[in-house]
């Protein structure tokens, strides 16, 4: 594969696409597929095949369009988005291509949910066919790789990423450029790149969506990373619970190999790179980098103390660059447009955009990409469309089981790494769950503690037994049988786990409890002193116990 050949593929594809004057895009990411978008696509295909327009009308399966709650979603070349489409709507939609839109299905796009978004990571989602590399190439795919390989030294690539201010999107927000530069400077016989696609936070599906909608974007990011740090082998660690993402990744890797974008001497340079998949067996802790590495090595997926950090001693003891899916997906636009362009988006310390999986008690749930620094209020009331049925907002939970619940007072806070941390939560991987007055915060804390308890690997004592004890106390509070003494124990355990657990899972496991204890202490008191659940969620009092 040479740059000219790549241009050729793009040209051919664009030429072919130019024949189609009418296009219908059907979302075939997991969200819409689960509400039968495949049968919608089949119906549309069948409808077009019967018509005279069949030579200039294309029906295409594309990735996620974001508003998952309204799926299956279909968009057309005359700029209309349709929601909740059924197979029976096929004919009407094809008719509408030459007439007025099918009003009963129209999903308005001039609303904040769409207007407030800024798509960088998701720019191809809902636009290109994730199963065809040609479509990705036609959308300027792999040009960033060519640019890096032919116009930039590996140093310059690292510099560009550093300049962009990009921070790790997996949760902790470690500066990506710094990580790349560490790995590039580390000495080893073989370096590795790992893409962490073990997205495990309940309610989070950003990475899955990126992988399902635009797998080549992630591969290209990894290729650039490999070139920058001097690695020739890479793994994508993806959870087995994402079969569609796995299928599309496998397909994408095969296609890239076939056209010579993966393999040896890529684009006529001396750069060689291969990517392999490793499937996670469902352990949340394997999202922790050292546990993930152990799992890739074929060992039990448990974390180990750091240092040494993977950048120095990672996979098989070699320097290893490990980044999250969304981080890699940000690399292509950074290389294409420059780090400086990227650093103008977002806030002073949190650059770029962030993809969030907006869920819970809001009108619009789904996948959104917004610039860093947007306020929580905008997220909930504008993009999210507010709380249904006029109920009262109570809290928004970010960062999954490692995050915290932010109360009304935090609504005007900007969404960036520092502000969230200061308020007692974390950015996390991008889960955002909105809760209203019908949510009980004790119950929420118990839910996350249950998650941490069952997902603890059991290696270190504070996490293994501490999460059990905390869950026991939270269950007692929910059952209205807890005492003031229990609450004291709970606070002691929060402190213990935070400071003595081996890995991030244990250290952050108390966050949902700490943040709800801080902002919703009166709810805990009501359960313990008055034996009442103000939100009416927790079980009825079971009477006095000893």
């Amino acid at each position: 594969m040479t740059p000219e050949e790549l241009d050729q593929i793009a040209e051919t594809e664009r030429e072919q696409q130019s024949h189609f004057t009418q296009r219908v895009n059907v979302c075939v990411a997991a969200g819409c597929l689960s509400c039968q978008s495949q049968s919608v696509k089949d119906a549309l295909d069948k409808e077009v095949a019967q018509r005279s327009t069949k030579d200039h009308c294309q029906v295409k399966g594309v990735g996620c369009m974001g508003l998952c709650s309204e799926g299956p979603l279909v968009s057309t070349s005359n700029g209309v988005l349709y929601k909740k489409v059924e197979a029976g709507d096929g004919a009407a939609i094809i008719d509408s291509l030459e007439g007025s839109p099918v009003s009963r299905l129209v999903c308005p796009t001039d609303v904040p949910f769409f207007q407030r978004q800024q798509k960088i990571v998701l720019e191809n989602s809902g636009v290109i066919d994730p199963d065809r590399i040609e479509d990705y190439i036609a959308a300027n795919g792999y040009t960033a790789l060519i640019k890096a390989l032919t116009e930039m030294t590996s140093h310059e690539v690292v510099d560009e990423v550093t300049k962009s201010g990009l921070r790790g999107r997996g949760g902790a927000g470690y500066p990506t450029g710094l990580k790349w530069s560490t790995v590039s400077k580390s000495v080893g016989t073989q370096k590795y790149v790992i893409c962490n696609a073990d997205e495990g936070d309940p309610g989070a599906f950003m990475d899955r969506s990126v992988l399902e909608s635009d797998p080549h974007r992630v591969l290209e990011g990894m290729l650039i990373a490999g070139y920058a740090v001097g690695a020739t082998e890479a793994y994508i660690y993806v959870r087995a619970e994402y079969p569609l993402a796995i299928k599309r990744l496998r397909n994408a890797i095969r296609q890239a190999e076939r056209v010579g974008l993966l393999g040896s001497e890529i684009c006529g340079t001396r750069f060689s790179f291969k990517i392999d998949l490793r499937l996670g067996a469902g352990a949340f802790v394997c999202g922790e980098e050292t546990a993930l590495i152990a799992s890739v090595e074929g060992k039990r997926g448990t974390p180990r103390p750091r240092p040494p950090y993977p950048a120095m001693e990672g996979l098989f003891g070699q320097p290893t660059l490990i980044n999250n899916v969304e981080t890699f997906a940000n690399i292509v636009p950074i290389i294409r447009n420059g780090g400086e362009w990227y650093s103008k988006i977002g806030t002073e310390k949190s650059k770029g955009t962030k993809v969030f999986a907006l869920a819970g008690r809001v009108e619009n749930t789904g996948l959104v990409e917004v610039p860093m620094g947007i306020s929580l209020r905008e997220m909930v009331y504008e993009i999210g469309g507010g709380i249904p049925d006029g109920r009262k907002f109570k809290a928004v939970q970010t960062g999954g089981p490692s995050g915290g619940c932010l109360p009304t007072e935090c609504l005007d806070m900007p969404v960036d790494y520092e502000s969230l941390a200061k308020a007692g939560s974390i950015m996390g991987s991008g889960g955002m769950i909105v809760m209203d007055e019908n949510s009980c915060m004790v119950d929420v804390a118990k839910y996350f503690m249950d998650f941490c308890m069952t997902e603890s690997c059991g290696k270190c004592i504070p996490c293994r037994v501490g999460t059990y004890q905390m869950h026991r106390i939270l269950t007692a509070i929910g059952n209205m049988t807890a005492t003031e003494q229990d609450l004291k124990l709970l606070e002691e355990l929060c402190d213990l786990l935070k400071h003595t657990s081996l890995c991030g899972l244990g250290q952050s496991a108390p966050n949902p409890v700490v943040s709800t204890l801080k902002s919703f202490a009166e709810e805990y008191r009501a359960h313990i002193q008055d034996r009442k659940c103000p939100a009416g969620v927790c079980g009825q009092p079971v009477g006095e116990t000893v």
Partner: protein
């Protein structure tokens, strides 16, 4: 070319001490008679930093670090016995006592159990978290040894000694979190294990009464741990 060992100087609890570059804080503390509690670490085995009892404070560091895996550094100022650390250690050990059924009075290791001794040394006179009382198995299928899961603290010394020293890898860990347990082979009865060489190393590195020899009384079931540093030393000299 022979590598010249680099020596680092550091302070532990205010004392000026020195250690070689590759040594850990725990190594240096031990050489100088400074007590740092630990249950998973054992001289001669790979360190895993799992029990969290050897956590120490290092000046200028936000996080507490496990002494067993933290290498000494020039100018380091380490505190091993602050009130805060003692408090955490007591809580961790108390949690361990609540986890399974540790009934010292009927245990074959009563009086020579590392966990029991540590509890006394840390001044634990009672456990202020509620006990779990889980139902745990006892596997006595092996002709010479018994594993009593009631007394296991998941330090994984047996797993490591079997893998790293004996080379049999009979032991491993299965399950997650509070459900985790050590197993022989693929969770088969120890007695029918095809990999176990009956060397007994696991029994002698076990810090509690979880692993013991059949037919031994409390007074007889003394564990001989000295073999391990000796074996490791001999191996190193052979290299």
């Amino acid at each position: 070319m022979r590598q010249v060992p680099t020596v680092k100087t550091l302070k532990i609890n205010g004392r000026d001490l020195s250690g070689r570059q590759e040594e850990t804080i725990l190594d240096v503390a031990r050489q100088n008679g400074i007590f740092v509690p630990r249950l998973c670490e054992m001289d001669g085995l790979t360190d895993v930093g799992a029990c969290r009892l050897c956590l120490v404070e290092i000046k200028g560091q936000n996080k507490l670090l496990p002494a067993c895996v933290t290498a000494v550094e020039e100018g380091m100022e380490v505190t091993t016995d602050s009130e805060r650390l003692q408090n955490y250690r007591r809580m961790i050990l108390e949690l361990l006592f609540t986890e399974r059924n540790h009934v010292c009075s009927v245990c074959v290791s009563n009086g020579h159990c590392e966990m029991q001794n540590l509890a006394q040394r840390l001044g634990i006179t009672h456990v202020h978290f509620p006990y779990r009382y889980p139902k745990e198995d006892v596997d006595a299928s092996h002709e010479r040894f018994v594993i009593d899961h009631n007394r296991c603290i998941l330090c994984t010394r047996c797993v490591r000694v079997c893998d790293e020293i004996e080379g049999a890898h009979t032991w491993d860990v299965m399950g997650r979190g509070i459900e985790a347990k050590v197993i022989t082979d693929l969770n088969e009865p120890w007695g029918s294990s095809e990999t176990c060489t009956t060397c007994g190393k696991c029994v002698h590195v076990c810090p509690t009464g979880a692993l013991f020899e059949k037919g031994r009384s409390v007074a007889e079931m003394m564990k001989r741990r000295q073999f391990l540093p000796y074996l490791t030393l001999m191996r190193k000299e052979n290299e």
